[in-house]
């Protein structure tokens, strides 16, 4: 088998998952109550002939099998249908919102992973001490608070009552800022939404790194390193943490699915103009095509991110190269 077989298997699995997602997406969409054309043109003055014409345009008069073929063909060409509420192609609406979400997610995740791994390693290293108990309890609590509830608290406290942060959005409207000032403005707007994602995530990473660290610390090579007379910090950095990080890498892929949830909640509370906020708007307008498009985007990104992480894992864990 070796590394090549490992990569091939992961790529095939990811492709099959994507095919399955496409099918599930089609089925859910057909479950939607009511006539999609009627949903799009709610005006009762639209005549029956016109509706029939629209049905033909969208291919809704064909049998289900024909509709499925048309849907897959459209998807292959990047056609996700028309958004009911924006009256524009779904892909166009979503593509416009992706940069804002990426900026928020990448920043929040990087901070959370760094803080979480550092605190978790420390906590696992000093396990059983007061510091450990404190970090553990704090992480469990932070991990249990829903992101949207935390977001509302942060919004009320730091944007309304002590008004040091903006109420929402991504930049001060009509401010015509440029260069470093614009970056500063965006960072200022991003602080609270990013914080509400970070707090949840830090808890998760602390718990993970801590338990993985405790596992590693019981291994014999750590005892060997001690008996060689190495400095404590050096053992922590070069021997323990390096191996303790392996499970943390795998779980980052699994976690992306949850990160999506945090993004939807934080973006909704802070009106961040990204894909997550789009979900909220699509729900309130019952804009099914848009909702389906966003779902596909999230599902695809999670599958792809997992594939990338699996491949990285195959690369950094030498055991995969020798065994299956």
């Amino acid at each position: 088998m070796g590394l090549k077989g490992f990569i091939l298997r992961k790529v095939v699995a990811a492709c099959l998952t994507i095919v399955a997602i496409v099918c599930v997406n089609f089925v859910i969409f057909r479950m939607a109550p009511g006539d999609p054309v009627r949903m799009m043109f709610r005006d009762p003055r639209v005549s029956a002939e016109n509706l029939q014409e629209m049905r033909q345009t969208f291919g809704l008069d064909k049998p289900l099998s024909g509709q499925f073929v048309a849907y897959v063909k459209g998807l292959a060409h990047g056609n996700l249908g028309l958004s009911f509420s924006h009256r524009r192609p779904v892909l166009e609406v979503i593509a416009q919102k992706i940069p804002a979400t990426l900026i928020l997610v990448v920043t929040a995740l990087m901070i959370a992973i760094f803080l979480g791994v550092a605190l978790g390693a420390l906590s696992g290293w000093k396990s059983g001490t007061k510091l450990d108990t404190f970090v553990l309890t704090a992480s469990l609590t932070m991990y249990s608070i829903p992101t949207f509830a935390l977001g509302i608290i942060l919004l009320l406290v730091f944007a309304y009552h002590i008004a040091i942060f903006p109420l929402g959005g991504m930049a001060t409207p009509a401010s015509l800022l440029e260069g470093p000032e614009l970056i500063w403005d965006v960072l200022w707007h991003m602080f609270l939404p990013a914080l509400s994602i970070v707090i949840w995530y830090v808890g998760e990473y602390v718990l993970l790194t801590r338990s993985s660290m405790i596992d590693v610390m019981g291994q014999e090579y750590i005892t060997t390193a001690y008996s060689k007379g190495l400095k404590k910090f050096r053992i922590l950095k070069n021997h323990a943490l390096r191996n303790a990080l392996l499970p943390v890498v795998t779980i980052t892929g699994v976690n992306l699915g949850f990160a999506v949830a945090g993004v939807i909640e934080a973006e909704t509370v802070f009106s961040w103009p990204g894909v997550g906020r789009l979900v909220y708007d699509a729900v309130s307008h019952r804009d099914y095509p848009l909702l389906q498009g966003v779902f596909l985007l999230f599902a695809f990104s999670v599958v792809l991110a997992n594939l990338v992480i699996d491949l990285i894992y195959g690369y950094i864990d030498p055991r995969i190269k020798v065994s299956t």
Binding site: P146, F148, A149, G257, F258, T268, A299
Partner: protein, 292 residues
Amino acid sequence: MNRLSNKIEKLSVFLRLLFSHRMGLAGFSVISLFVLMAIFSSFLGTVDPARTGAVENILKSPSSGFWFGTDDLARDIWSQTIFGSRISLTVGFVAALITVISGTLVGLVAGFYGKFVEEVLMRIVDFFMMLPELPLMIVLAAVLGPSMWNIILVVSLVSWPTTARVVRSQVLSLKERPFVEASRCIGAGSLRLMFGEILPNVIPLMFAQAVIMITEAIYAEAVLSFLGLGDPTSISWGMMLHFAFESGVIARAMWWVVPPIVSIVALIVSFSLLGTAISDVLEPGYKEKKGF
């Protein structure tokens, strides 16, 4: 008779361990308060939580007439908070029950039969676990329409795979144990082996899973309602926050936001504490460490 008393003894040891665990006791106490609140809602709530009031009572701050104040339709926040516990706990318990039973069945069958059956079932489980949970729940809830039972259905549909996976790996190790082998030798059939021999040994695990699932279901209900996918006629805590958020006056009406947030966080944190305590107590060797 001997078997029964043995079971009761085991249960009492488990409960004593759980209540001597600080997190377990704290979690259990707070949850009990909420359960009492849900049972006696009709006595504790002063008025019908969904009844809109007179215009002059709109957005009143807390007073002797309205203990927690009123919302933008002059509905009583105290009663909404009290009755909200019913929705959260119902969704939590029912969804967890469905999830754990269906997940256990799938895990049991997959682990016991192995081979082709296991391969197919576990591929389905892997597929579901790969999908981002919240977006899937949102799409399903939006398509099915707003109601508490739909939320329960959606949460169960999305969360059974975790249990299936955990139960399967337990079953894999259980079916190799001598007592299963012995039972097979005296001619027990597959059903008898699965439900009579293996299942009783999975029950502690199911219990631990149930607590985790309750926590997740309560969380999911709160988020879905907050996003506007809940039933607008039965007001849950998430729904209260949705209304407050949509009204645009949350900054001026702290009394409207604080009770649902405190309730949601308190209930979820308590269930996670209880869950942590249960998995500690079920850990092999814990009993001996505590001197039982």
